[in-house]
Amino acid sequence: MKITYRDQEWELEGRWRVRDAIKEVGLLPQTVLAVRDGKLLTEDTLLDENDEIKLVAVISGG
């Protein structure tokens, strides 16, 4: 599956739960939301090998 976050991109093999996939690419699940085809996903969603997931940062401010 393909995972994108800002200008970064990763490819993961096999099936992953959203929460585990976020950790696998080195991010904190608390700090991003996972979106597939414009729809928000809960952290326990099991992703398919061909899924394209966009991670949206939730932290802002300064």
Binding site: L28, P29, Q30, T31, L33, V35, K39, L40, L41, T42, E43, D44, T45, V56, A57, V58, I59, S60, G61, G62
Partner: protein
């Protein structure tokens, strides 16, 4: 994961509340919780005119959206700071606010263009002055506070609402506790009362929402907001503190909520009563806004300051 209300697939889960909701029930819950916070902290009533400070980000646009849905008389205020930094940040964020307002018949807003009014953008003013050199965020806060107070007063608004969420508040509290800034801790609250004619009443209706909750609301309801952070916020202390708090939250859901709500509880119990002493304020000789020292306020001094060597 199923929606607790209807059993359909959930789209969002809040571990700290042990609550998962679907596409329909999450926005409903979010709006109802906002209404509850406004009432709980006596922020404003339907008779009040509310000015919402909007930046084009998720929190402020979500707040404006919810207040309009709840039927409040809420107008927007966008402050154009002229931040370009090669990415056209202010232009892009202003466009988000304009698009938001254009899509809603009852969304009226004011734009304060700092360059047009004072002759310099925020980055230019920051580069010129000793206060701002290397730390434009300090000048940014000063400019925004002044503009928000001014438009609230001049526009006849009863209250100024900002989109600060629980993560913002917890990060500020964390920083203040680290440095034992007891005066600041004593003043941190969901409602800051008005002070004379110069300082507007300020409220934070989203102060009990996690940042991911406001982002989820914006995504689910299709609010188009600016995803990118301000280029000057990269590496900011508050963002670092948010990261630390989120690491703790990951291990123990509810940590951020307990930290911030504990402050509110302690205040209610009177823990900070002795610390919250009134500071004597004076009207600025130029703009009339209240300031701690007699003479010109820091904002008016900013524009008269000679270039730093």
């Amino acid at each position: 994961m199923k929606c607790r209300k209807c059993g359909r697939p959930a789209v969002f889960n809040m571990r700290q509340h042990k609550l998962a909701l679907c596409q329909v029930h999450y926005p409903e819950w979010f709006v109802a919780q906002t209404a509850r916070a406004i009432e709980k902290y006596h922020m404003f009533t339907p008779d009040d005119r509310v000015l919402v400070a909007v930046s084009g980000g998720k929190d402020s646009l979500a707040l404006w959206d919810v207040l309009l849905q709840l039927g409040y008389r809420a107008d927007g205020l966008y402050i154009d700071l002229g931040i370009d930094d090669g990415v056209g940040y202010s232009a892009a964020s202003r466009a988000k606010v304009e698009q938001f307002a254009a899509a809603r018949a009852n969304a009226h807003f004011t734009i304060v263009d700092i360059k047009a009014e004072y002759g310099e953008t925020l980055p230019e003013a920051a580069r010129r002055t000793r206060r701002g050199r290397g730390k434009p965020c300090s000048v940014c806060g000063l400019i925004k506070r002044h503009a928000m107070n001014r438009i609230t007063r001049d526009g006849g608004y009863d209250v100024l609402a900002t989109g600060h969420n629980l993560d913002d508040e917890a990060a500020v509290l964390f920083g203040n506790v680290l440095h034992w800034q007891t005066g600041y801790i004593a003043r941190q609250a969901p409602v800051l009362p008005a002070s004379g004619e110069g300082l507007a009443r300020k409220v934070k209706p989203f102060c009990r929402f996690y940042e991911r909750e406001t982002a989820a609301y914006a995504l689910i309801t299709g609010i188009d907001y600016i995803y990118d952070e301000c280029p000057y916020a990269v590496g900011a202390t508050s963002i670092r503190h948010k990261g630390i708090l989120n690491q703790m939250e990951e291990e123990a859901p509810g940590t951020k909520m307990q930290f911030y709500l504990g402050l509110l509880r302690a205040r209610k119990e009177g823990l900070f009563r002795e610390l919250a002493e009134e500071v004597e304020l004076h009207p600025c000789a130029n703009c009339g806004q209240l300031t701690s020292a007699p003479g010109l306020c820091t904002f008016c001094r900013l524009w008269r300051e000679a270039p730093a060597p």
